[in-house]
């Protein structure tokens, strides 16, 4: 059997034609971007402010050193602007979030005054405190990575079958596939939990991996099918002419060419699992806390401690954004150019 070779898809972007993206368009884009980012900037600024200022002054006044309640003012009215400014910002929210401090003041203040907060040692080991974000970060990784990779792998096979193979019942199964995506997650929890309990895997990581895989499959297959079926027929015909079978076409042609779609899917599945709380809580439990669990626990039932949420939300956002940036290189123009020969 002759081996199939295709030319390596060009992964470097071609020289762009910067079509006179006129000034109007550019300004329009910049304005939209500013509006888009303002709420997030608000959160970032707020995460560096102490609670007493958050509740009483708008975050856009953060550089104003004279407003807010009396207790937040600098003790010396004649201090310089910079001195006053330094008391208006604090890293306490981040420190408290990272260490999982639970108390009425702040971690740094409590340690400085000599009374160790419950369960803490007032040294660097507190970063791995079970109630802090450090330990949770690791758990979140353990949950998320397999839950992203497994569904994508399984979905690729199924999507290929839908796109380029013939079998009875294609339409019916496709219809069910679309319909399954809308099933609300709450409906699936109790039956699956019972099943896991019967199998004895409750509270373990494989239980969460299986559930996320199951739940993520319909959408993954749906999306990948769309990408795979938009590949030109000629590719397959020439491969078939050269004597290739489905496995070779799948691995050597389809997989490389659908890399942008796989990258998109990876980002979304990663995000969905990373930011999920309910599934981890139900199948994994609180003994292996993930980041979302720690975040939800920073707020007491009455809403106290929500200022810690601002810092915690940013901490949990760092990795997803890194993932997004890293996978950008797969969204390149010209993957298809030159791939089809004659």
């Amino acid at each position: 059997m002759t081996t199939v070779t295709i030319s390596k898809p060009i992964s470097k972007p071609r020289k762009r034609h910067h079509q006179h993206s006129n000034l109007g368009t550019s300004i329009g884009i910049v304005i939209i971007l500013i509006i888009w980012i303002v709420p997030t900037v608000g959160l970032l600024v707020t995460s560096f402010r102490p609670l007493s200022l958050i509740n009483t002054t708008g975050w856009w006044t953060a550089l104003n050193v004279n407003n807010g309640p009396v207790s937040a003012q600098h003790p010396d009215p004649n201090a310089s602007y910079v001195e006053k400014l330094s008391t208006r910002f604090t890293i306490d929210n981040y420190v408290d979030a990272l260490t999982g401090y639970r108390g009425t003041s702040t971690y740094l203040d409590a340690c400085a005054s000599g009374t160790k907060p419950l369960g803490m040692n007032c040294n660097i080991t507190d970063l791995l405190n079970p109630r802090g974000m450090g330990r949770a970060f690791i758990n979140s990784l353990i949950v998320t990575i397999p839950s992203t990779i497994l569904p994508i792998i399984i979905a690729m096979f199924a999507a290929y079958a839908f796109s380029w193979m013939d079998f009875k019942g294609r339409y019916a199964i496709f219809a069910i596939l679309v319909g399954l995506q809308v099933v609300p997650i709450q409906m699936t929890l109790v039956p699956v939990l019972r099943m896991f309990a019967g199998m004895g895997i409750n509270g373990t990581f494989p239980a969460v991996w299986l559930f996320h895989t199951g739940f993520g499959l319909p959408y993954a297959i749906y999306m990948l099918r769309n990408s795979m079926s938009s590949l030109p027929k000629d590719l397959f015909e020439s491969a078939y002419l050269d004597g290739a079978d489905h496995w070779q076409v799948f691995t050597k042609i389809v997989m490389p060419l659908t890399t942008p779609a796989i990258a998109s899917l990876a980002i979304f599945q990663f995000l969905w699992v990373w930011n999920d709380l309910l599934v981890s809580l139900v199948f994994l439990g609180g003994s292996k806390p993930v980041m979302t669990y720690q975040i939800s626990n920073m707020v007491t039932s009455l809403g106290a401690g929500w200022h810690l949420l601002t810092a915690a939300a940013f901490l949990s956002m760092v990795l997803p954004m890194i993932v997004f940036f890293t996978l950008q290189r797969y969204f390149v123009r010209g993957m298809m150019a030159g791939a089809v020969k004659g």
């Binding site: 034609h17 971007l33 997030t40 975050w59 199924a158 699936t188 895989t213 319909p218 980002i267």
Partner: protein
């Protein structure tokens, strides 16, 4: 020997497709299909699934027998005294709100996503712009709830900590209670939804646009087409299948959308949507019969889109 058949292009043994499909189908059947069938069965029973729904009928009230939960799900939010009140109460019921969300949010996210995908494709700082638009997706719902608290906050008579009201009061107007004024509040929530999901649509549509071979675009330019022409006559038609996929996915996401409404208003002040209502019935009211009935109705909403997808599926097959 090339066979001139429409599809499939390549022949294979009968069992090969099932080899590729089986892992996915088994997993999906266990985790989604079986629970959904279970749910369907529960919707015909009473609150704690111990007896048929017919037993929950009360005298002097209309009763639909074993469909009693569906009667409740469909009519309980409506004030049916006059056609006028029925119409009004429909539009702030969970069904009316869901329709508003579907119309506004799907159009908003797909439309904006498409526009951004096309515009941002041409500028230098493409990665940065895309990241800014995408960033809201990376912030979990908990974070988003806190963020928008600082935008919509009603404030006190002396101080505003929500930026929207701060802007309004500095222009001399009275602050507005964005989240409690009916029907404005639903649209303010939809704004949050669009802010969060446009990045998703943009990412998908952008990768579809980039897959269009450059030669076609250049050929059109040589023929004298303007940017707008290229957009409407070349790009959109070519990525039409992806647009259908994105619309369908957004419809599904909007139907399931629960966190934004739950965290910001809890479904109060006329902002209830189907997903929050289902949650409330199942867990706050501990009524599994009604909760599952609402879930079934939610799933039925997707049927028109399944039909749309099948149509496109067959069209695509026929073209190949």
């Amino acid at each position: 020997m090339a066979k001139t058949i429409a599809l499939p292009v390549m022949k294979q043994k009968r069992w090969v497709p099932w080899l590729y499909l089986l892992p996915a189908m088994i997993i999906m059947s266990i985790f989604i299909l079986y629970p959904m069938i279970n749910t369907f069965g529960l919707s015909f029973q009473n609150a704690d699934s111990t007896a048929s729904a017919a037993t929950t009928c009360r005298e002097g009230q209309p009763c639909w027998g074993v469909f009693e939960n569906y009667r409740y799900a469909l009519t309980n939010e409506l004030n049916m005294e006059t056609p006028q009140t029925t119409w009004e109460s429909f539009w702030i019921s969970s069904y009316g709100n869901t329709i508003k969300w579907l119309l506004v949010m799907v159009t908003g996210t797909v439309g904006l996503g498409l526009i951004f995908a096309v515009l941002v494709d041409r500028i230098k700082l493409e990665s940065l712009a895309k990241s800014i638009i995408f960033m809201p997706m990376a912030i979990s719902f908990v974070g988003a709830g806190v963020i928008w608290k600082f935008v919509y906050n009603y404030g006190t008579s002396q101080v505003q900590i929500g930026i929207l009201n701060a802007v309004i009061t500095s222009l001399g107007f009275e602050p507005v209670a964005w989240l409690s004024k009916i029907p404005l509040n639903t649209f303010m929530l939809i704004v949050v939804g669009i802010w969060m999901w446009t990045g998703f649509c943009m990412t998908l549509l952008s990768s579809a646009i980039k897959a269009i071979p450059e030669e076609i675009i250049e050929a059109s330019r040589i023929d004298g087409a303007t940017n707008f022409d290229i957009f409407t006559k070349v790009q959109v038609p070519i990525i039409a299948p992806t647009i259908v996929v994105v619309i369908t996915t957004m419809v599904i996401n909007v139907l399931k959308l629960f966190d934004i409404v739950y965290v910001m208003t809890g479904g109060n002040f006329g902002t209830n949507v189907i997903a929050t209502r289902m949650y409330t019935e199942m867990y706050t009211n501990a009524n599994y019969g009604r909760g599952t009935a609402i879930a079934v109705i939610l799933v039925l909403f997707i049927v028109p889109f399944i039909i749309m997808n099948i149509r496109r599926f067959t069209k695509q097959e026929a073209m190949r």
